[in-house]
Symmetry: C2
Subunit: 206 residues, 2 copies
DNA sequence: TATGTTAGTAAGTACTCGCTAACATAAACA
DNA sequence: TGTTTATGTTAGCGAGTACTTACTAACATA
């Protein structure tokens, strides 16, 4: 982030974290696929060669970003999932926590979108996919709790409900990417969430 | 597509169309940002230099893909939107027409995702964004018709409903990208659509 | 049959990419 | 304090990129 302010010659771990943040910062402004090691070096105020003192190759940087993402987003979701005895309130908290996280880290959704279209055997994609699977699992568990509590339709398909949950967030994020970073997704949020709630509350079997 | 089968020396227009299809075909297999002019040339069975006989530069190819997309997807949606006197049935038809189109052209969502993260001033992104705006407009009109017909909640916010509609499709597409091209999104479709229907039918104002 | 146009090739341009090796120096430590 | 080690710079590589140029074969038509 703040290249010149921090002194030269920092410990490796600090530099690594700095570069991971730099990637996310750059991803908020340009397409992640076009971020070069030179870009990253400039962002942290080093020469391009210095990048490879801290990472064996470029892929390792991206893998580190994915790991940071998992270590940051999942605890956020986990905490929100257990934030209330009322499962629907917990779900609400997950929704808003996720959207707040995305707004504070605009590079994240672009990073994820980018990784998901990689060939299947890419380790970075596998890391991201695994995280999203865990996320989905958390959602399904909360939805099951809501069902046993009688808060949602007894015929609710939790997997579909989890897909729609993630889709509703994606729809909002896409809207934001369409209109540019200038516009906030704040006004849309309430409307979409209200719709999702009534979807799972009174589901009609097909 | 089929490089060797078609004879050499085709008219310019046919070649352009061939290359547009080649891009979409390649986008189904690799990330669109990594598609090179050499890749395209190989796919249509020409030399790399020949690509620039038909397009002034690479960006023009991508713009052509975006235009093909608009000229193909929007009529599909328009037709579905007017397919029934019953607005909700029309909406259903849009949903399934879109998903069928995506399944038949797996490169399309990846192309769109890729373009949306470009800097705002890119003409290709503007083209794609404009198409999605038109799409959203069509959805909102059908939702308004459903409201006057008394088929959905009178307090429904059409813009949020349109966002959730697109989000629900995106959620399904993302699921497919996660699990790889092997898995179909067919089984999930019905569940998600049922959820969306009950969302707009009985909306509860926040 | 001669001539201009169109659609192709092959080789080359200038440039950027990820990555490396040789050298420098600040910080940590015996 | 002198040595070592970790963190940096500089210069350069090989491979690939979009795009250009000089040239050629096929086709249409006067």
């Amino acid at each position: 982030m703040n290249a010149a302010t921090v002194s030269l010659r920092q410990p490796a771990q600090a530099r690594q974290a700095e570069m991971v943040q730099a990637v996310l910062c750059l991803a908020a402004q340009q397409e992640p696929a076009s971020i070069t090691t030179t870009d990253i070096a400039k962002a942290v105020g080093l020469s391009q060669g210095a990048v490879f003192r801290h990472f064996p190759n470029k892929q390792a940087i991206w893998l580190n970003v994915a790991q940071w993402l998992e270590a940051t987003l999942l605890p956020l979701v986990q905490t929100a999932a257990q934030s209330s005895p009322d499962p629907l309130t917990s779900l609400d908290n997950i929704f808003h926590a996720h959207l707040q996280f995305v707004q504070e880290n605009p590079g994240v959704p672009r990073f994820i979108f980018n990784e998901l279209q990689r060939p299947a055997d890419s380790p970075v994609k596998q890391q991201v996919a695994a995280m999203l699977q865990t996320y989905s699992g958390i959602l399904i568990r909360v939805l099951q709790q809501a069902k046993t509590a009688g808060q949602v339709s007894p015929s609710l398909d939790e997997r579909s409900a989890a897909t729609l949950f993630i889709g509703s967030i994606q729809g909002l994020v896409m809207q934001a990417m369409l209109l540019g970073s200038s516009t906030s997704i704040q006004p849309m949020m309430a409307g979409v969430w209200a719709l999702y709630l009534s979807a799972i509350r009174q589901e009609v079997t097909p």
